[in-house]
């Protein structure tokens, strides 16, 4: 099938992008570089989830992309709040 072969050709590009984002997320000199690396990694992975959901022809798999993007965004809020005030919570 044409769509499956096209997606199979595209998936290695997503893997290369994942490796590049992972390098920045692991190596980044400052804390905001790490956090931005995790963000880009997870947003890339959310798109990969949707593409793989089309690849496997399973619509239920696509639902998992939405919590991934939302909950990793919460990590930004936590780290920003910690770096701003040095306190979390009450």
């Amino acid at each position: 099938m044409f769509v499956q072969e096209f997606i199979a050709a595209v998936i290695p590009l997503y893997l290369v992008a994942t490796v590049l984002y992972l390098y920045r997320a692991l190596k980044g000199p400052t804390i905001p570089d790490h956090v931005l690396g995790v963000d880009l990694l997870s947003y890339n992975l959310a798109v990969l989830f949707i593409v793989l959901g089309i690849f496997f022809e399973e619509p239920i798999l696509i639902v998992t992309a939405i919590p991934l993007a939302l909950w990793i965004y919460a990590l930004d809020i936590y780290v920003a709040k910690y770096l701003e005030r040095k306190v979390m919570g009450a």
Partner: protein, 86 residues
């Protein structure tokens, strides 16, 4: 047949990269960076659960490992010290 092999290759790459993140989280002295490394590990584990065809586990694992656990660890770090001593 090669398409199945591609999916296995994606899973193998994700597990290798999660091992790197776990090692760095263990040896890191700055505890905020260690929390971020464990978030990277949870992102790759969610990809692995996805490839094992269990989206329900992904839906539970992401709020716990991406939302609750970093929040709890940052609250604990803010109560104590940020850098680990010898």
């Amino acid at each position: 047949m090669s398409l199945d092999l591609l999916i296995y290759a994606v899973g193998a790459a994700a597990s290798l990269m999660s091992v790197v993140a776990v090692y760095l989280a263990l040896v890191e002295r700055d505890l905020v960076k260690a929390v971020i490394y464990s978030a990277i590990q949870s992102v790759f584990y969610s990809l692995l659960f996805y490839l094992f065809m269990s989206p329900d586990i992904v839906l539970v694992y992401l709020p716990v490992a991406g939302g609750v656990l970093p929040a709890l660890l940052l609250v604990l770090i803010s109560k104590t010290e940020r850098f680990e001593r010898e």
